[in-house]
C-alpha cells in the first residue's frame, strides 16, 4: 500500500491539508475569546485552561499548514496534524456521546458562521487523518526543501 504514497498524491494531500489548516486557523486567530468559549463548550479541559489553548492552537495550525505546503519540516508538521486530528475526534466524540449540541469551532468561531458538531465532523477528521498518514508514510520527498536529508 505504502508504495503508492508518492509523487502527485502526496503533494495533493500536502496542499489540501495545509490549506485546510491555514483556513481553519484564521478566524480563531482573529477571535481568541470566541475560540476559547468554543473550546470550553467541549468540557474536556480543566476550567481556565481553554484560554491558553485558544492562544496557542490556532498558531500551531497556521504554522503546520504553511510549512506543510512549503515543504519545510514536513515530518514534524505531519505528526502534529495527526495528533491534532486524533484530539479533535476524541473531543467531538465525547461531546456527542454526552448529548451536547455545540458549535464545532473548527473553521469559524462566530455563532452565526459556525456549524454544529455531528458524525459528519468526525468523518471529515478521519479523512484528514488518512491524508496525514499518506504524507507521513510517503516514499519520496518531492518539493521538500528543508531539511533535505530526512
Amino acid at each position: 500500500m505504502k508504495k503508492y504514497f508518492k509523487g502527485p498524491l502526496v503533494i495533493l494531500c500536502r496542499l489540501v491539508l495545509g490549506g485546510v489548516f491555514i483556513y481553519a486557523s484564521l478566524d480563531k486567530i482573529a477571535n481568541p475569546a470566541e475560540f476559547a468559549k468554543a473550546i470550553g463548550n467541549y468540557h474536556v479541559l480543566p476550567f481556565g485552561l481553554e484560554n491558553l489553548l485558544a492562544l496557542f492552537l490556532p498558531w500551531l495550525e497556521l504554522l503546520t499548514g504553511i510549512l506543510l505546503i512549503a515543504g519545510i519540516m514536513v515530518d514534524g508538521a505531519t505528526i502534529l496534524i495527526i495528533s491534532m486530528n486524533i484530539v479533535f475526534i476524541f473531543a467531538i466524540s465525547q461531546a456527542l456521546a454526552r448529548g451536547i449540541s455545540i458549535e464545532c469551532g473548527c473553521f469559524s468561531v462566530s455563532t452565526e458562521g459556525g456549524s454544529n458538531i455531528g458524525f459528519q465532523t468526525i468523518l471529515r477528521d478521519f479523512v484528514y487523518l488518512i491524508m496525514a498518514f499518506i504524507i507521513f508514510y510517503r516514499q519520496d520527498k518531492q518539493l521538500e526543501f528543508y531539511p533535505k536529508s530526512v
Partner: protein, 160 residues
C-alpha cells in the same frame, strides 16, 4: 537540537506557536487573560432585564430565588439527588431530555438556578454553559450548592 529528527521538529513547532500566540496576545487590543476567570458572584440581580444572564449567586440570593418560586436544577448524579436535594429542584438528565423537561415547566427566557455539590464541583457551571448553548437566557449558578444549602437548613427533600 537535530532538525532532521521529526520529534525535534515537533518541538520547534510547539515553541514557535507558543511564543507567537502568547506574544501576539500582549500587543493586540482584544487580548484575553492566559487563564479563564471563574464566574463572578452577582452583586445585584435584575430578573426583569432582557439581556442574557449567566452569573454566579450567593446562598442568600439563592434562597431569595427559591422563595420566589424560581426553578432549581440539580446538576449532580441521580444518587446524590435521591439522598437529598433542594426542595422542588429538578434532577439532571441527558441534555436533550433535560431541556424538554424544563420546557414542560417554563420557557427558556425565565430564570433558572443551577447548583451542584459544593463550590468546587464545577458541574453546575458546565451545565449552565450547556443550557446557555441550548437557548436559555437567565441562568444563575449557585456555587455553594447542596453543601451550603443543607448546612443552612433551608428547605430540602429526598427521593427522585
Amino acid at each position: 537540537m537535530d532538525i532532521n529528527k521529526p520529534l525535534h521538529q515537533v518541538l520547534i513547532f510547539i515553541v514557535l506557536s507558543s511564543l507567537i500566540g502568547l506574544g501576539s496576545n500582549f500587543v493586540r487590543s482584544d487580548s484575553i487573560p492566559w487563564f479563564a476567570l471563574e464566574l463572578a458572584v452577582a452583586e445585584s440581580i435584575d430578573t426583569d432585564t432582557d439581556e442574557p444572564v449567566l452569573i454566579a449567586i450567593s446562598l442568600d440570593q439563592a434562597k431569595s430565588f427559591h422563595d420566589k418560586g424560581v426553578l432549581f436544577l440539580d446538576a449532580r448524579d441521580e444518587g446524590y439527588f435521591e439522598s437529598g436535594h433542594i426542595k422542588g429542584a429538578m434532577k439532571n438528565a441527558f441534555l436533550m431530555e433535560l431541556v424538554f423537561n424544563i420546557e414542560q415547566k417554563q420557557s427558556k427566557l425565565e430564570p433558572l438556578v443551577v447548583y451542584c455539590g459544593d463550590p468546587g464541583c464545577g458541574d453546575s457551571e458546565d451545565l449552565a454553559y450547556d443550557l446557555q448553548d441550548s437557548g436559555f437566557t437567565q441562568l444563575y449558578v449557585f456555587k455553594g450548592g447542596w453543601v451550603e444549602w443543607s448546612a443552612a437548613s433551608y428547605p430540602s427533600e429526598t427521593g427522585l
